[in-house]
Amino acid sequence: MSVTAGLAGFLAQPGVGSMSVAIENLRRNWISVLSAAALIAAWEVVARIADFPYLPPPTRVLAALWTLSLNGTILKALSATLFALMIGLGSAIVLGIGIGTAIGLSRIARLTLGPFIDALMSASMTAFVPLFILLFGLGIETRIIVVIAFAFFPIVVNTQAGMMAAREDLIEMARSFGAGRWEIFWKVRLPAAYDHIATGLRMGMARGVEGNITGEVLIAAVGLGALVTQYGRAFTTDRLFAIVIVIIVMSFAASRLAQMLCGIFMPGRR
């Protein structure tokens, strides 16, 4: 007890805690930065020595990225991509968290919907794209549906797991203090599911971006997917890699955005 108290007291001193955290972060990041730099440098060297036409050195990829940014190609593609992506991801979040919560809390929902979700989760979503085209046509609706289909499953499965992860003794404690079902949900189950839901959102957003590009490649040549197809066919791999970088950044941004939303819309967590 005294050790914990002493340590806690030490960390509570102004500056000490935050400083050690900052140092720790720096150390961890330095390792990541160094390893990334080493990888890129190695790639650069290998690509230049081997002079393999389809493995452009990073400097050429960056140059392509620069050119495509300046001439507006990327911006134009992004504006076409982002609308369907945002609508799709937003719907997947609402549906995924909603249905995941229902399955996690209700036995009937679990018995009726659970098997379908388990089966579909392991199915390749790409295989369903032709079906979606037949059902919904070649328009933006179909691309939105593909985004939802990709992003939905990680969110629903993780939300369900989170809802079932709440410790029984905490629920009993809340009941003992007079909490009803609704209060137990808001004050115990949902906050207990926070980490699971955040994981589901992170995975779901990345999958959704993947679905978005898949949709743009397979359904209609629009947005970034069209550029992927175009540069891929033309074997202009420096441009292809440049677009891949844009996609990764987009995926990253979507994840961060979802986590921010998670923080805002989860009362009782703090």
Binding site: A5, A8, D169, S176, F177, K187
Partner: protein, 265 residues
């Protein structure tokens, strides 16, 4: 009038647990007990004697099958504001700070803002956690976590405090400190306390009466009056009467445990 009527009363209480295959297991049988307001009563007995079940019945967390469980003369139908529980597992919300955990019960009763702050501060000070208000449970030792659990229960100002092996997960030294603190807090505003424990010295140190339950089915075997003076300090632990009472309870329990082992052997 209130002083003469029992705070908690069991009349021929029976509790069964349904078991697989339609049969049922008798957990508590013919429990008759009346606990006075302000009395400190411990329930002690071997595993399977139903002491935790009995505590949860008083809190209204689990139903009973026959007889009566009365709190202030009224049948228990569910948890109520005059009762609060301290749990063996502490049952703290890990994402909340000490202060937010202590405020949990108040929050559910709609007490917020300055009023809640004042109450929370008072009980955090009372259990000796001043300075740790903004720590999370994971940053605290077991003893400190249970102090949070105690403050949370006291903060809703219950007339009845139900404690389910609250110090069972703690080491011996921490346990002694918390017993002394609990005794001091109880002396200050004599709540009715029902205290489930495995530890004989703990039961004797804290209680007015110790109820010894026998297992399978849980029945009241003997009720021991603890006629030690109050307030009780550390020195009471070496009092001849303390040693005698502890020894007596052990003798009774040992008899049960030995018999139990012979039956199952």
């Amino acid at each position: 009038m209130l002083d003469n009527s029992p705070s908690i009363q069991f009349r021929d209480l029976v509790k069964r647990y349904g078991s697989e295959g339609g049969g049922s297991l008798l957990v508590l049988d013919e429990i008759n007990l009346a606990i006075r307001p302000g009395e400190f009563v411990s329930l002690i007995g071997p595993s399977g004697c139903g002491k935790t079940t009995l505590l949860k019945i008083i809190d209204g967390l689990i139903p009973y099958d026959a007889g009566d469980a009365l709190v202030d003369g009224k049948p228990v139908t569910g948890p109520g504001p005059e009762r609060a529980v301290v749990f063996q597992s502490f049952a703290l919300l890990p994402w909340r700070t000490v202060r937010q955990n202590v405020a949990f019960g108040l929050e559910l009763r709609g007490i917020k803002g300055a009023e809640a702050d004042e109450i929370v501060d008072r009980y955090i000070t009372m259990v000796g956690l001043k300075g740790f208000e903004n720590h999370h449970p994971s940053q605290l030792s077991g003893g400190m976590q249970q102090r949070v659990g105690l403050a949370r229960a006291l903060a809703v100002n219950p007339r009845i405090l139900l404690m389910d092996e609250p110090f069972g997960a703690l080491d011996a030294q921490t346990r002694n400190l918390l017993q002394a603190d609990l005794e001091r807090i109880w002396e200050a505003d004599q709540k009715t306390v029902v205290f489930v424990t495995h530890a004989m010295d703990e039961a004797v140190f804290l209680s007015d009466r110790v109820v010894i339950l026998s297992p399978r089915p849980g029945r009241i075997h003997e009720i021991v009056d603890i006629d030690l003076p109050r307030p009780r300090g550390e020195e009471i632990r070496t009092h001849p009467r303390f040693v005698e009472l502890t020894q007596h309870i052990w003798d009774v329990l040992r008899g049960m445990i030995v018999r139990d082992q012979e039956v199952s052997a």
